[in-house]
């Protein structure tokens, strides 16, 4: 019962930023630059949900509270959903589905290239997240899902490259990522055999 409440609370919490953006959009209250408000809003929350997904395992290990693992898949899929919204907004509202322009943008600019690479990883992970896929993939599932570490590194760089000058935020989130990944490296090295999830 308690776990179900927790699951649903977190589920609704993750829906909240999208709901707020949608409400603001409906009221025509997205500020002077609605596109950027939507694009950055969805992108930022995809990033935050990616960090949330990655903090489940460390929290579980540090607290010893195992039920929290039930949140991991849901948070990961929410992250992918926000990423889909983010990329859709970029492709349609920003680029107007001008594929040559999108292609050139991705090839010419690291920021776009890294973002799209991270997006493809997140899509793959989300697509392989249902239980039947976990069963079907067996041991390889764990190997595939380690790609989330690559994704979060790509996302941090993608985020940092959007900043013109102010490095406080990229440094803050970069620090969080370093902690989350560093903890796994630390555990892997110190315990040797236990595999981080």
């Amino acid at each position: 019962m308690g776990q179900k409440v927790m699951w649903w609370s977190v589920f609704l919490l993750a829906l909240w930023p999208a709901g707020r953006l949608a409400l603001r959009a409906w009221r025509g209250d997205l500020g002077p630059d609605p596109l950027i408000t939507l694009e950055h809003g969805t992108g930022f929350w995809a990033f935050m949900l990616l960090l949330a997904t990655l903090s489940i395992t460390p929290i579980r290990r540090l607290s010893g509270w195992n039920p929290i693992i039930k949140l991991r898949k849901m948070l990961g899929n929410w992250c992918a959903a926000y990423a889909v919204a983010h990329v859709t907004i970029y492709l349609i509202l920003d680029q107007g589905l001008d594929w040559p322009s999108i292609w050139a943008d991705a090839l010419d600019h690291k920021r776009i290239f890294l973002g799209l690479a991270a997006f493809l990883i997140l899509l793959t992970l989300s697509a392989t997240s249902p239980n039947f896929m976990v069963r079907r993939l067996g041991r390889r599932w764990g190997q595939i899902h380690r790609a989330i570490y690559a994704a979060v590194i790509l996302v941090v760089i993608h985020f940092a490259l959007t900043q013109k000058l102010d490095w406080r935020e990229p440094l803050l989130w970069g620090g969080v990522v370093a902690l989350l990944l560093g903890a796994r490296v630390w555990w892997a090295v110190s315990k040797g055999k236990r595999s981080p999830g």
Binding site: A25, P32, D33, P34, L35, A85, L93, G96, A104, L161
Partner: protein
């Protein structure tokens, strides 16, 4: 000498305001349905660019005054307007220095006295890839330069923004090297398009837009337009300018709007008009080539970006 003709946006290019707002509301609502169906998106993208190409209408005052790159207050464009409360633009003095007949500290009113303020609606293109159409009120820079009588050694004109962290909270952090400095070659400065701005939409300039006096050179990226100017200096050598010092590979001294030269991190071929979705092509010299291209004859604009 032929009379200079201020380029105007043809009335046929301007959307009736009511239709503009109808469309804007509609677009915003469509965006609201995001997570949205691709079908709607395709419809949007199919109609938007063609319309943008035909239609141009001044950016709403609210947007012009609440979307500001003014790092002296904040690096967040939508936060600047909320941080200008302590800013006092009167009294205001402008110190005129360097290669000029009579260096002097002018009271602003004295500097501008008798020079007619003109209404000029210019395209405004930010180096970040967004644009506006802004109805400025200002005085041609050339008229002020003539009044100040620079010497023959004045090859460049340099503008310095107020340095006062007490009024400008963004200056308490070293995001840029303060004070902000921008400059033009003297022949660029004499071009009739260059304005010193005192108002927008017929209203006095607000602090977030660079009150009480700022530069506008519409064929260049917006960062060339120094705001809240306290010093005008005429010099013989090209001055070191703030953004060119900060990231020389990304921001050059000339900073002419040029769709053929990308910013290292993003394309400059297209731009987003604030308040609309989709993109429109960026024009060489921001569409003012007929007025300014001759200033750069023989120069490689890929090198002098």
């Amino acid at each position: 000498m032929s009379r200079f003709i201020v380029p105007r946006i043809a009335p046929s290019e301007i959307t009736d305001e009511k239709h503009f707002w109808d469309r804007r509301t509609w677009l915003t609502k469509v965006a609201g349905a995001i997570g949205a169906s691709t079908l709607i998106g395709q419809r949007l993208s199919a109609t938007a660019p063609q319309r943008l190409a035909q239609a141009d209408t001044p950016t709403p005052y609210e947007s012009i005054t609440h979307y500001n790159n003014f790092y002296e207050f904040s690096t967040d464009k939508e936060e600047v307007a909320s941080l200008v409360g302590n800013f006092r633009s009167t009294p205001w003095t402008v110190s005129v220095e360097g290669e000029v007949k009579r260096p002097k500290r002018y009271d602003l009113a004295e500097l501008l006295r008798g020079l007619p303020v003109e209404d000029r609606t210019y395209r405004h293109r930010c180096v970040e890839g967004w644009s506006m159409l802004i109805p400025w009120n200002g005085i041609p820079l050339a008229a002020i330069i003539r009044r100040l009588e620079p010497t023959s050694r004045a090859k460049y004109i340099e503008f310095t923004t107020l340095l006062d962290p007490a009024q400008m909270p963004g200056q308490r952090r070293a995001t840029l090297q303060w004070p902000y400095v921008e400059a033009l070659r003297i022949d660029e400065a004499m071009n009739p398009l260059a304005l010193l701005i005192t108002g927008i939409y017929g209203k006095p300039l607000l602090p977030q837009n660079g009150a009480p006096l700022r530069l506008v050179t519409p064929w260049k990226y917006g960062f060339k337009g120094a705001k809240s100017i306290v010093r005008i200096r005429f010099v013989e050598r090209q001055p070191a300018t703030t953004w060119a010092l900060t990231a020389p590979d990304e921001y050059g001294f000339y900073a002419n709007v040029n769709p053929a030269v990308d910013h290292p991190r993003w394309s400059q071929a297209t731009e987003r008009r604030i308040g609309r979705f989709g993109r429109q092509p960026t024009l060489p010299f921001n569409g003012y080539g007929a007025q300014v291209a001759s200033l750069y004859t023989g120069m490689d604009l890929r090198v002098n970006y």
